[in-house]
Symmetry: C2
Subunit: 335 residues, 2 copies
């Protein structure tokens, strides 16, 4: 077996085998120019027969479209980034776009390394994802020669960003609680230096009105536990519903309530935020929670990059995508 045998077939091989010139072969294969229908079919058949696959590198070099995009992510591949990446990939793969995944670990050196590699590879665009809305990218992304889209991160106002509508998610939760007859709704959430936490808390306050109370803490089960201990050991009226800032807190809340012999959802209804299934499906009872539709976020970003790369105009600014409520038993499921 010689090198020639193992070498990939080129368009030269196709042309020779079909008895046409390479330009005709190219035209036939791509449906460009004018080609006799019969020749076209023959060329295509020959190409298939000898296993020809075009070299994407050569094509890109010429067309200046690499059909690849880079996804720069801030976190160590967390649970947020991945559903989004799946969404991105989902809309791109059928268009023949591939995705470079670059984990920056929030390290500027790594970020610049990845960014330069992406630029050198002539990617058609970059999607930047974070794990937090209010953290700037570890590297300047605002004046690149290619389109940049932000997901779960807010870029400059002349760029395109997709984020979950936290306020909408919070309203969804509170309305559902109200509709199931609850009136004393407490909000136990994460650190108030998160913009998402403040947005959710504000929406909660607007929706609950009189009697709204927000307890800020960290993102842990332990905090949920602690908060319930505190709330139920103080005097005065007790809540009949808890809206939690994330599922981990909610799990702590549910566990603490059970420890106290307080029934969920009968005595106190609980709603979480994130729909992180490993938690939400396993609480007892399973957790009703707000889903941020991460995959849809990714899908939208992919679509935006696609349009941008095709030279179309896309509205700039931040798009807040609606959340959805996943109803399980901790509030309102199978009442």
């Amino acid at each position: 077996m010689t090198d020639k045998d193992i070498r990939r077939r080129t368009i030269h091989d196709v042309a020779k085998a079909a008895g046409v010139s390479i330009s005709t072969a190219s035209n036939a294969l791509n449906g460009t120019g004018r080609t006799n229908a019969e020749t076209r079919e023959r060329v295509k058949r020959v190409a298939k027969d000898i296993g020809f696959r075009p070299n994407a590198l050569a094509r890109s070099l010429l067309t200046k479209r690499s059909h690849a995009i880079g996804m720069l992510t801030n976190d160590t591949y967390g649970r947020l980034t991945l559903p989004m990446a799946a969404g991105v990939s989902e809309v791109l793969v059928d268009q023949g776009l591939s995705v470079f995944l670059c984990a920056t670990n929030n390290d500027p050196r790594l970020a610049r390394l990845h960014l330069e590699a992406l630029l050198d590879r002539q990617v058609d665009g970059i999607i930047f994802t974070a794990t937090r809305l209010d953290l700037p990218p570890p590297i300047e992304l605002s004046k690149l020669p290619i389109p940049v889209v932000y997901v779960f991160a807010e870029g400059p106002s002349d760029h395109i960003s997709f984020v979950p509508d936290d306020a909408h998610g919070a309203r969804l939760a509170v309305e559902h609680l109200k509709n199931s007859g609850r009136s004393r709704i407490l909000h136990i959430t994460g650190p108030d230096d998160y913009v998402a936490v403040r947005r959710r808390a504000n929406a909660y306050r607007d929706s609950v009105g009189e009697g709204a109370e927000v307890l800020y803490g960290d993102w842990s089960e332990e905090w949920g536990h602690f908060a319930i201990d505190a709330v139920f050991s103080r005097t005065g009226e007790k809540p009949d519903a808890i809206f939690c800032g994330n599922d981990e807190i909610a799990r702590g809340v549910i566990d603490a309530l059970r420890d106290k012999g307080i029934g969920v959802p009968n005595d106190v209804a609980v709603i979480g935020f994130d729909n992180w299934e490993v938690i939400a499906k396993q609480t007892r009872p399973p957790l009703t929670t707000v889903d941020m539709e991460l995959k849809e976020l990714g899908r939208r970003a992919g679509l935006a990059i696609l349009a941008l790369a095709a030279g179309e105009d896309v509205d700039t600014g931040t798009t807040r995508l609606p959340c959805s409520l996943v109803v399980r038993k901790s509030c309102g499921g199978e009442l």
Copy 2:
């Protein structure tokens, strides 16, 4: 601003600006051939000044090395794939290699779409990752013209595979249990059609010897709960330690024990498997568990691909990488 202004600088621009030919510029920039030190420095400085960055596409077309690899994954970006991807990326980024992430969702159509795209892009190698050791890839990977490495999946024996050493992990757990004075150790695990489950169970039996008992179920907290209910309601001697097949089961076990008023670790010690932090850190008490060193698995795969792509010989076959034990309070932490 004309097109020329926005066009990326090419090696021509560098050559012109430095007053040399493009081959000299190329040599100077890459340190190849013989170049006068002074010219070399001048060229480099000029390149930097005008913001020259080599076009990776053009370079790859010529050198036949794309410095990109594809990572084909079986699952919807689960918790296993990502730490591995991080490991892969970690060893490759400094070598200038980028990673295409391709989620196949175990769908043959998607898998072939991605595979073809990767091949067309002339990737230097492919890493296939699964979520289960005994699931074949959704597409034939064994006779590709480029290196293929399997991680958390076992390829054909003439290929290279890296998997966690399940037996070692199980022994680690059982030995730790024994060392902390336990003698009646029970194993509650997942479905026995998983090869990993059988390997762990066998190692457990070998290590425990007399009195070994394995309870197979599914991978849920619920099953852990159920199993404990069953075991502690039957007559006869009760276990003083439980080795669980994964962290979710372990969490169910710990919750069930607490419900029964059985102290962990005092009455019964518990060890899990996976070190999935969202669970393991949040059980009460926090879970001692076996870590499969997923990132290291990825790192090794990245190194293997690197060597293979460089034409070096690498031993074929399956390498089982040792697990590690993460000691928290459910057994032996801060005794």
